[in-house]
């Protein structure tokens, strides 16, 4: 087998793509320069009572940016599409594009359906009116689909933990030595310092991130909301105490906290498990109060809903905190075990994130509680928790959804930081932070092991930021 080049038989597009990129950069610079010097488009009143927008240098510059951006996008798409058809004939990019076929298919279906039904989909549909939001959503969903399909073993070319002899630190596109008939014949993005496939580790790493980041953020939101609502609504001494505790955690340097919580000695004392008992109880409390405050006056319905929601959640909760051979080991019905290190990472990320959510929810609640509809509910004689969860919470959902997106990105960064310092997660784990940490030792000589996970992490977080921006823009419109 011959080593693959980056673009293979598509090499003829490269100079065109390069020219398009240079033109795009030049036109953006021109656009920026022109916008400082000249004013925007002018409205011109015509004699017949109509209005037209007068063209000017700025409009032309913006047209230039749009054209060159379009050209770059078309050429990038050409790489992907031709790569899909040619496979490894189109070099590394083509082979990767072929491997990612399930992701592309899922993305096309999702975007096709969403755009055709966007008027019926509420805020989610409105996202497709904002180009920024769409780009962000596409980036996020790309990694979501890649992660999910990688977990189903549809994308990775090799086992992310397998070390193949002779592949140590090999450059991208190196053929695997002595590959059998069924094996994939190349290391698409090269091998790392333990001769593992960088591409497979990167796509598997996407799943590692997806497993933890959104769930940890969700837990942090449950904790933050359950504590922030009463703190903002009641105020007074409760607020003082909870705010002091939140500030206490916020003043703690995050890395120091991780180092203190994640060491094996602390794990042996069971402290993270006790923290898990407290932190993971909040979703239960939240859902219980949510249902009870709604159906308080209809006892039969109340009992039914509480049972339907709380029993499975309680079972999950108990099997989550219960682990045989640790400090908490009493519950016989243990469905699954979370590896000790993972639980610790999860707990510390939730712990670090929840005070910020608490402060946001508290601030929003203090702002909303003086509104008329809250006063109306109070006059009706509604209970405080009903007002908090069913009157205030739905009305602060906009900022909370936006912050949720941002916070998933931030959690991804935190998980990467943990991996970067080799804390918590198992050392072989393909998550992006650990992979960057592995790759950085030889960074001066071999770039390829560290660069793909770094770019992957950056693009995911960038996507989440853009998505949050798009959501904020669209939710402010109404």
């Amino acid at each position: 087998m011959d080593p693959l080049t980056w673009t293979g038989s598509l090499a003829f597009i490269n100079p065109i793509f390069l020219i398009a990129l240079v033109l795009l950069a030049a036109s953006i610079l021109l656009w920026m320069g022109v916008s400082i010097l000249t004013a925007g488009t002018r409205h011109v009143a015509n004699a017949d009572g109509t209005m037209t927008l007068a063209g000017n240098p700025q409009a032309m510059a913006s047209l230039g940016v749009r054209t060159t951006f379009f050209a770059v996008a078309v050429l990038a798409l050409a790489y992907v599409l031709l790569g899909l058809t040619l496979g490894s004939g189109a070099g590394i990019i083509g082979a990767m594009s072929r491997q990612l076929l399930p992701t592309w298919a899922a993305l096309v279906i999702l975007f096709g359906l969403s755009i055709s039904f966007k008027r019926r989909l509420g805020l989610y549909g409105k996202l497709f009116d904002s180009p920024i939001g769409m780009i962000g959503f596409a980036l996020v969903m790309f990694w979501v689909f890649t992660g999910v399909f990688a977990a189903m073993d549809l994308i990775a070319t090799h086992d992310p933990l397998a070390q193949l002899s002779g592949m140590k630190n090999k450059v991208p596109g190196t053929p695997v030595r002595g590959a059998e008939a069924g094996d994939y014949a190349w290391y698409l993005l090269g091998g790392d310092n333990l001769a593992r496939d960088v591409f497979s580790r990167m796509v598997k790493g996407a799943w590692e991130v997806l497993k933890y980041a959104p769930l940890a953020t969700l837990f942090a939101f449950m904790v933050g909301i359950t504590l922030g609502l009463p703190a903002g609504y009641y105020g007074g001494r409760l607020d003082t105490v909870l705010s002091f505790l939140a500030n206490l955690i916020l003043a703690f340097p995050v890395i120091l906290m991780f180092y203190l919580l994640v060491t094996p000695e602390i794990v042996a004392t069971g402290l993270p498990q006790y923290m898990a008992v407290v932190l993971f109880a909040f979703p239960l409390i939240f859902c219980g109060v949510l249902i009870h405050s709604r159906f308080r006056t209809q006892p039969s319905k109340n009992k039914l809903w509480l049972a339907v929601v709380l029993v499975p959640m309680a079972l999950l909760y108990l099997s989550l905190v219960n682990a045989p051979g640790s400090k908490i080991d009493f519950w016989p019905l243990d469905f699954f075990d979370v590896p000790g290190g993972v639980l610790v990472v999860f707990v510390s990320v939730v712990f670090v994130n929840s005070p910020t959510v608490f402060r946001i929810v508290r601030g929003l609640t203090m702002d909303i509680k003086s509104r008329d509809y809250v006063a109306a509910a109070q006059t009706r004689g509604e209970r405080p928790w009903y007002i908090m969860l069913w009157e205030i919470l739905p009305n602060v959902r906009g900022p909370l959804i936006v912050d949720f997106c941002l916070r998933i990105g931030y959690t991804t960064i935190l998980l990467g930081t943990l991996g970067f310092f080799g804390l918590g997660l198992p050392p072989e784990s393909p998550d992006w932070g650990s992979t960057i940490n592995d790759g950085r030792k030889l960074l001066q000589i071999y770039l390829h092991p560290a660069l793909p996970p770094a770019v992957a992490l950056m693009s995911l977080v960038l996507g989440l930021n853009l998505l949050a921006d798009g959501l904020r823009e669209e939710s402010l419109k109404d």
Binding site: M32, A251, P253, L256, L443, L451
Partner: protein, 350 residues
């Protein structure tokens, strides 16, 4: 105002006490002490030997007393052995006369930070040199980060929705989406790699501790500055766009003041109030970045000391590190509160 500062300082001291107690508690949990005894003494120690070692070195006391001793409000422990007296405030073993002259209290209130088991020197000395290195790094980070973030924010915010605004906003979103360990890796790849890079800068900053030059010091500074910059720039932009829609700006425009004058003389001062607090509140995150960048570029500063202390369970050094970082964080919060009141005449605090 005086009362406000007093109250804030009180809260700050309570916070610092709580946080150091938490660190003290976590580092003094029994498995940690056991590890310490084994690294200091002998890895094959039996459980009884560990217990007696801990007892002999003053770790066997109740946690509150140990914390008091570390703080310097409880007299240091002393212990009479066969060949003399040992104690917290006594170096090694001493005779009764020398022991009698040793100070009774020796905690951080007396300026005694303790002894580092990792570096085998006084903690105060380590903190001083390491903090000096990091202080120098931070100085350049702030010099690079703050003006460029403010300029980007003001330029983007003065004409909302313009081409300049959109492109600068995209740049700032991109920098906030790139954590230090990612941008650092990319910078080293592009600018410092010996195989494919441009070789403009050095990939390590080890030499920068003695002889900082542009070549070996710029990349770490840039890496930390970029991540914080995007956030400050976005806050500045938000505050600037808000100010630019205010009534008095419209009045100035209608009076015929030129756009440059409006931005520089009318809008800028009011637009910089919010970023001031944001910059101050960035310090905890900068500290995070410092730890990452110092490990990545092998620059032996405060963050490096933190990593070394934490991974070797060096209790006294870890406590000192946390005291310093907590005090820095709380002080910047205090300054940001007070500064906000000074800068914003609309806020009155009795």
């Amino acid at each position: 105002m005086g009362l406000f500062i007093l109250r804030r300082s009180g809260v700050m001291i309570i916070t610092a006490l709580c946080l150091t107690f938490i660190v003290f508690f976590l580092t003094n949990l029994y498995p940690n002490l056991e590890k310490l005894a084994k690294t200091e003494g002998n890895f094959r120690m039996s459980d009884e030997a560990v217990a007696s070692w801990l007892d002999k070195n003053g770790y066997g006391q109740p946690i509150a007393i140990k914390y008091g001793q570390w703080l310097g409000v409880v007299p240091g422990w002393t212990r009479e052995g066969e060949d003399g007296i040992t104690g917290r405030c006594i170096d090694g073993t001493a005779t009764a006369e020398i022991a009698a002259q040793a100070p009774r209290y020796c905690g951080i209130l007396q300026g005694d930070w303790g002894y580092s088991t990792r570096f085998k020197t006084d903690v105060g000395e380590i903190i001083e040199t390491r903090l000096g290195n990091t202080g120098y790094l931070m100085m350049w980070v702030l010099i690079l980060m703050v003006p460029s973030a403010l300029i980007i924010g003001v330029l983007a915010g003065m004409r909302e929705g313009s081409a300049l605004d959109r492109s600068l906003s995209t740049v700032s979103i991109m920098t906030t989406a790139t954590p230090e360990y990612v941008s650092g890796v990319i910078f080293i790849a592009v600018f410092a790699s010996s195989t494919v890079g441009l070789k403009w800068f050095k990939g390590t900053a080890t030499a920068a501790m003695e002889n900082p030059t542009f070549e070996n010091f710029f990349l770490p500074v840039l890496t930390i500055a970029l991540y914080g910059m995007g956030y400050i720039a976005r806050m500045t932009r938000a505050s600037m766009t808000e100010v630019m829609t205010a009534q008095y700006i419209r009045t100035a425009r209608l009076k015929g003041v030129s756009f440059g004058n409006i931005v520089l003389k009318h809008a800028l001062r009011n637009a910089l109030i919010a970023p001031f607090t944001v910059i101050m509140l960035q310090f905890p995150w900068l500290l995070n970045g410092v730890v990452i960048v110092e490990s990545l570029f092998n620059y032996k500063g405060f963050g490096w000391a933190l990593v070394e202390a934490a991974s070797n369970n060096d209790i006294e050094l870890l406590l000192a590190v946390s005291v310093v970082s907590v005090v820095v964080v709380l002080l910047t919060q205090l300054i940001s509160d007070i500064g906000y009141v000074f800068l914003n005449p609309r806020i009155r605090i009795a």
